[in-house]
Symmetry: C5
Amino acid sequence: MLLGKVIGNVWATKKEATLDGLRFLLIRPFTLGGDDSSEVVVAADPIGAGIGETVIVAFGRAARHTIGRGQDVGYQVAVVGIVDYLTLENGVPFEL
Amino acid sequence: MLLGKVIGNVWATKKEATLDGLRFLLIRPFTLGGDDSSEVVVAADPIGAGIGETVIVAFGRAARHTIGRGQDVGYQVAVVGIVDYLTLENGVPFEL
Amino acid sequence: MLLGKVIGNVWATKKEATLDGLRFLLIRPFTLGGDDSSEVVVAADPIGAGIGETVIVAFGRAARHTIGRGQDVGYQVAVVGIVDYLTLENGVPFEL
Amino acid sequence: MLLGKVIGNVWATKKEATLDGLRFLLIRPFTLGGDDSSEVVVAADPIGAGIGETVIVAFGRAARHTIGRGQDVGYQVAVVGIVDYLTLENGVPFEL
Amino acid sequence: MLLGKVIGNVWATKKEATLDGLRFLLIRPFTLGGDDSSEVVVAADPIGAGIGETVIVAFGRAARHTIGRGQDVGYQVAVVGIVDYLTLENGVPFEL
């Protein structure tokens, strides 16, 4: 899965019917070494992540399962967890 | 899903039969930080997005569902929403 | 799907049985802004694209459907259309 | 599959129910030529890899199979093996 | 599919049960224009490719089909062909 930071909300009026009522977040992938990613992904969020939080994002069947409306839907990326913290080599929590 | 801007239309006469009658758009992924993406994707569009609009693009089963012709088809990328606006950290709508 | 230019043919004698009798093309993804992609993909081609032509390439179930030998096969990328031309913002056909 | 080094653990309290009780690792893809990857992936780990170990990571159905809780789950990336060593052209084990 | 060169073997003692008895190769994607890829993929190889050979690599269901142990397995990348040669624009075989 992807680790990323929530950087915004995506608003769309004209959309596939199965997207109705879902929140869509703009997520910037987490990178190491100081270079910010210039890429973003859009994920449906059933968990309630806020801007600035770090999340785990899943794709495909896992994302559809997480939303809970079956597999015949028009999205395939979803937030599946909100990260509290990371522990790296030294076991010290990493600031997110 | 991918966030991207519609930059063109793709015309193909010789194509897999299940592509007949679909509009195919050329989409440039949205990037942060000023560097334009040099990559493009081709997506079937059942929603009617125009050039210059920002769209949400889904892949795989989600894309096929959105087109509505079943799963035994020759495409796997589709526009699933037209983005009205983004709100970033400050809650202010972001110009697209 | 991917938009790319056919740049070569791939010949393989030792291969998974379901690849027999298929043409495999080497395809360079189309990029914007002057930088040629250094990546390539290999796609099965049931349509008959020639070197120098621009094609739409699909992945996964869509690719297997396009080849028409069922889903229990050893390939998952295929040419699904040959592009005649692109129209960009100004509506003028783009030279391929 | 991906070859990567385990660089941390990911802790999430709020998460999709099927993620409960799984370990999630932060993994940096292995690269050649001296440039470290700045990307990371998050993988469920049923095997018990430790920080600093090199692992094989699988995606999609393979990952869900490896976890062994069926296919209706909210994750799609998993550690499927811990690498002992690599042998390169000269047959000499490569230090990981 | 991916075109790549076999650059090594991957050895793992602790692994998902369905990986037992398979050879795992380290493969460097083929690139154009002189820049070697720094990325690698790990693929199961049922065909017997050797170090230095160029291979076609498939993903997902195609890879699992090629291995021939069904779909409930812990891998999703496989070598599906060994490339004899490429022919580029001029029809001349390309040295691999």
